[in-house]
Structures are given as C-alpha cells and as structure tokens.
C-alpha cells in the first residue's frame, strides 16, 4: 500500500487551482487594460487622420512649409512630436509628406509596415508599432488621390499606456504572489482542520480492543456525512468480528465443559474408590466406569479434532471419484449388525452412482447420521437408507422410526454442541457434534443436508451431493 498523505495532495491541488485562477484572471485583466488604454488613443488618431484626409486636396497641403498637418497631429514636445504622420502613394517608398522624423532611426517604423494591416480603400486599421523602447499606436487609411492611391498613417506614442500597464503588471504580480503565498500557508491548515474527523474516528478505532468489540463505540460519534459509509462498514465489520469471536468463545466454553465433565467423573471415581480399601467388585466397577469415561473423552477429542481439521483446511479437500455403493455397502453391513444386536435392522437399496469426494470424510458423514438413527430410533426399529438420482445430484435419505423432533429444535440440530434434550442424549452419550461435523462435510462437498421429522413416520436425514 502506497501511503500518500491526502492532506498534502489536497493542499497541493487547491494551491494549483488557486494559482491558475489568479494567473488567468491576471492575464485577462492585463489584456483588458491594454485594450482599454490603446482604445483611448484610437479615436484621437482617427480624428487626426480624418482631418488630414479633409485637408489633403487643399492646394499647398503637401508643401512642407505650408502644410497644416503638423498642427493637426499635435504639438512639439521634448525634441520631437508626440504624434507622427506620413503620407505616401501606393507602390512608392518615397513619402509625399511626413512629420519631421528621420527614416534612418525609428522613422523606419513607419516605412516597413506590416502588410496584414493594409486597409481597404476609405477604411481605417489600428495597430501597434513597437520596436525596442519606441511604442506607437497607429491608424492607417487609404484613399484615391490624383492618379493613384494615397496612404495616410498617423501614429501616437503609446509609451504612457505601456508604462501604466507595466505598473499594473507589477501590482498583479505582488498581489497574486502574496495571495498565493497566503494560500500556501493557510490551505494546509484548513485541510488539516477539515480532516480532523478522520483523526477522531481513528482515535476511536484505536480504542477498540478484543474486549469492547461488541459495544459499537463508533455509533454515537459525531461523524461528517462523507465518513459515514466508511464508519458504517467498519461498524458492520466489527459486529461480524464480534459475532465470530462470541461463537468461538461459546465453542471453547462448550468444548471445555464437555471435556471437563468426563474428566471430573473420572477423577471422582478414582478418588472415591481410593479413599479406603475396597473389595474386588468395587475396583472392577471403578475400572469399568473409568474406561467408559475415557472412551467418552476419546470420542469427544476425536470429534473436536475432526472439526478443527475441517475448519483449518476449509475448501481444500482432497477428492477422488467414489462409487457411492462401494462406500455405503460396508457401512450398512456394520450398522445392520449393530442394529440387529438390539433387535432392529438397516435396509438399503444400492443404486450405482458416482460422486467426487473425500472418502474418509464421506464415511464419517454417513457414520454420524446412521449413528444418530440407531441412537434415537426405537431399539427394534428399521432404518431405511434410500438413494435417489436426479440430473446433477444424488440424494441419500436415512430414515428412522424415532419420535418427532419439535419443529423449533430442527434448525439448531446442526449447531455445535447442540443437544435436542439432555435426557434424550446424555444417556446415549455424544456431545452434540455429530451433526455439526456432518454439515461441515456436506458443505465441503458443495451439498446440502436437511432433517425432517414427523410423529407418525419418524425422522429423515437427506444428504444431497453433486454427482458425476
């Protein structure tokens, strides 16, 4: 995971946006000011050009000494006229008349005019003429004159406007710069303040431990809307974790209870028996009792280990192709023998079916189910085992003639350490893990297990497994 600080990313982003806004605004303001300043000059220049046009036909107007043009274009200041003019014919480089300005110096400005700005007849074009430190705003117009076309150019110095603009630019830089600097300092602080809730949530989460997991300490917090989804999913996750831990705790408590009880009996038997000298019958009885309890513990430990194994390598079960008959037939024989010893029997109709599965686990599965059928069915009852093939599934049904299981109990039968009724199972032993193991095995084989129970007919366990 790459940890980019969101605070700095956000700050940077805001600063960049702010900077581009300031720069764009500055450019716009600058350009607008330039245009406004120059446009102030344009009407003056145009008036001058129009006056020159009006006077052009007057006799002597083109005589340098009699010409009134210099008085039209302005005054003489500081060694040169602030405004300049030049009149020439199309196709000729020679001037007809021009303000007193040397062609060799900046006067060239007015001879090498940009062709783009050449106006139509009787039209005016305005443009800038800039070279080094000479800045002029110019108007250019053309009219028919004598046998050709006369060009009239009037140019006014835009030095002052450019000076104004320079000052404005300085102002913009200083203002924009300080704004940006201020933003650079303030934005991280503001962003950090805005992110405070994250820190608060993090702080609350830091206080969540294994012990107070279920208290949902995040629920009453004052959380901004944007953080709600995260906090809510966190709360959900904590609730799920809590549930899992509670289940684990319950399982451990149950397991320890189930292990302690036979251990307590064992110990009490041994201690009571060894309190005084006893006769052989007493010792024999104590040994028998002890063996019984050891067997009970052994069975429980086996089952716990089996569950632990299943929990550990969930999903990674080694499977082979199994003919269901080959697996069930020997089981049926041994259970039939067991049932026969107490006056009952097991019937079985073999149908050739192949499934993909783990042989050990499937044997365990059917052993557990048949074991229950023998335990909870009547002693002389018949256990029917039937197989039904469907398109993709095979259903094995184990039916016993045992009493009805109350409907409210049915959903809990697969819970670990669940016993329908203590009196029903204590005498027959078992810790309530058989069906839990069965369910885990069926789920690992992507199948389903169900129990139905009716007072008249008895109890049926259906195992549905995908067939090959």
């Amino acid at each position: 995971m790459k940890n980019r600080p969101l605070k700095w990313c956000l700050s940077l982003l805001i600063c960049v946006v702010l900077m581009s806004t300031i720069i764009t605004l500055s450019i716009v303001a600058y350009v607008e000011l330039e245009e406004a300043l120059l446009r102030n000059i344009d009407p003056v220049l145009r008036t001058m050009a129009e006056e020159i046009l009006a006077k052009l036909d007057e006799p002597g107007s083109l005589e340098p000494n009699q010409s009134e043009f210099p008085s039209i274009t302005g005054w003489y200041t500081g060694g040169r006229y602030s405004n300049q003019y030049r009149i020439w014919m199309d196709g000729s480089k020679e001037k007809l008349l021009a303000s007193d300005i040397s062609d060799k110096r900046y006067g060239r400005l007015f001879t090498d005019l940009p062709e783009d700005n050449r106006p139509e007849i009787s039209k005016f074009t305005f443009f800038n003429l800039n070279r080094k430190d000479y800045q002029y705003r110019a108007v250019w117009t053309r009219i028919p004159f004598r046998q050709g076309i006369a060009n009239i150019l009037v140019a006014g110095s835009s030095r002052y406007a450019y000076h104004e603009m320079e000052e404005f630019l300085q102002l913009l830089i200083i203002l924009g710069g300080s704004l940006l600097l201020g933003a650079l300092l303030l934005v991280p602080l503001i962003v950090a303040w805005g992110m405070n809730p994250i820190d608060r949530v993090a702080e609350s989460i830091r206080h969540i431990t294994y012990k107070n997991l279920g208290q949902d300490s995040l629920q009453d917090m004052d959380i901004p809307q944007e953080l709600l989804p995260i906090v809510e999913s966190l709360s959900d996750m904590l609730a799920r974790l809590d549930q899992a831990i509670q289940q684990q705790k319950q399982f451990t408590a149950d397991a320890s209870h189930e292990l302690r009880t036979p251990l307590a009996i064992l110990k009490s038997t041994i201690q009571t028996t060894s309190m005084t000298a006893r006769d052989v019958t007493d010792y024999t009885r104590a040994l028998e009792d002890t063996l019984q309890d050891v067997n009970r513990m052994e069975q429980l430990v086996e089952q716990l280990l089996c569950l632990a194994r299943i929990d550990e390598d969930r999903g990674s079960v080694k499977t082979t192709r199994i003919a269901l008959d080959d697996l069930l037939t020997p089981l049926m024989e041994s259970f039939n023998a067991r049932a026969a010893s107490q006056g009952g029997k097991v019937t079985y109709n073999p149908i050739p079916t192949c499934i993909q599965g783990n042989e050990n686990e499937l044997t365990q599965l059917f052993t557990n189910i048949l074991d229950n059928a023998i335990k909870y069915g009547p002693l002389d009852g018949t256990i029917h085992v039937t197989i039904e093939n469907e398109d993709n599934y095979v259903t094995v049904c184990v039916h016993d003639e045992g009493g009805a299981i109350p409907p409210e109990v049915l959903p809990h039968l697969f819970d670990r350490f669940y016993r329908a009724e203590s009196s029903r199972s204590r005498s027959t032993g078992g810790a309530g893990l058989g069906l839990a193991i069965a369910r885990e095995i069926v789920h690992r084989h992507r199948g389903k297990i169900e129990i139905t129970s009716e007072p008249q007919t008895g109890t049926s366990v259906y195992v549905r497994l995908p067939r090959l």
Binding site: A253, H257, R260, Q271, D289
Partner: protein, 226 residues
Amino acid sequence: MRVLIVEDENKLARNIARALTEAASFAVDISSDGEDGQHMATTNPYDLIILDLMLPKINGLEILQNLRHRGHHTPVLILTAKSMKEDIIRGLDLGSDDYLTKPFEMAELIARCRALIRRVYDRPNPVIQIGNISINMASHTVTFKGKQVMLPAMEYRLLEYLALRLNQLVSKTEILEHLYDFDAENFSNVVEVYVSNLRKKFDPGPHHVLIHTVRGQGYILGDIPQ
C-alpha cells in the same frame, strides 16, 4: 448432616454421594434434573446443596434464585464445569455460598462442604469440646478423656449433629430429617437406641448427664447440671 446433590451426570453424583457418606458421614440425596432437584430442595431441610449449573429442565442458577427467593437459607455450593469468571460471579451474586469447578479434588469438595456446614451452625472451630469429649469434625474422630473412641457411622452422625446444636433442644423429627437420606428406612425408635449407646460410651460420671431427654420434645446435648 443431610446433603442434596443436584447433578445430571449420574456417575459423578454417585461418586460424590459415596465420598460424602464415607468420609464425612453425611446423609446424601441425589437428584438428576433441575425440576426434581428444586422440588427436593424446597421440601426437605438440607444442611447443604451441591448444585450443578447445566441441568435438564431447570438450570442451576434458576434453582438457586428460586430457593433464595422463597427464603431458603440452605448453603449452596455450585459445582460446575463452567470456569468462566462471569458465571462464578453470577452464581455467588445470586446467593450461592461457594463454588468449585470440575474437575475437582474430592478431598477439597468434602472440606468445603464441612466448612459450609460449620458456618451454618456458627461453629468456626472444627473441634467441638463438651466436657471430656472432643469431636473433630475434620478428621472425623471423637476422643473421650484423652482416648479415641471409634463410633459407628450413625452414632457419629447423631453425636456430631447434637454437638453442632450444643445446648439446644433438638426434636426427634429434626434428628430424623438431618441424619437420614430419602431412601433410608427411618424408625423413630432407632434414635433412642443411638442415644442410649452414646450415653453408655460417654459416661461423664455421677451427677452429670451428657444427653438430656426432654420428654415429648427431644434431646439436649450439653453440660447442664441436673
């Protein structure tokens, strides 16, 4: 002393009963489910109840709560495979007097039972001295004038019970109720036989009587001058 064991593991209950009878001379009743246990506990004057928590029908804590609610003061020792501290605290807070977690030492259970019973009769000292007689309830021995006297179980039981209620009038019914378990065939004249046996074995000499008979009412054990 009469003790009730409410425990659904029959074998364990039988073992405890046997140990208590042999080592502490208690009369012991066993109940294997909550309902029956609660009934027995409320209808008989037990000196102690040993109570399992996970019981069929009515759970142990509920029985305890009901007992205390109905005003029964009988000490209750919780014997449970639950070792979670919360369960133990809950049990004690609901009115139990002591607890032991399974698996347990039988000797410890017996000692705790004795201690609880001593507390009920307000006898913190396990040795009760009456004149020349000294009864050690812990080692279960009786000495008379410095010599140890071997007593049959029932005689010891009677002597111990009377000693615990020293200088008090004890009715014959009380003796029968506290000395015999449910299954015993108790004939009231048996008590008189035991009393006369005890009088013979512990003769304090002339002008002194150990066990006084209060006609029609019962007996008093004590060094009361005639």
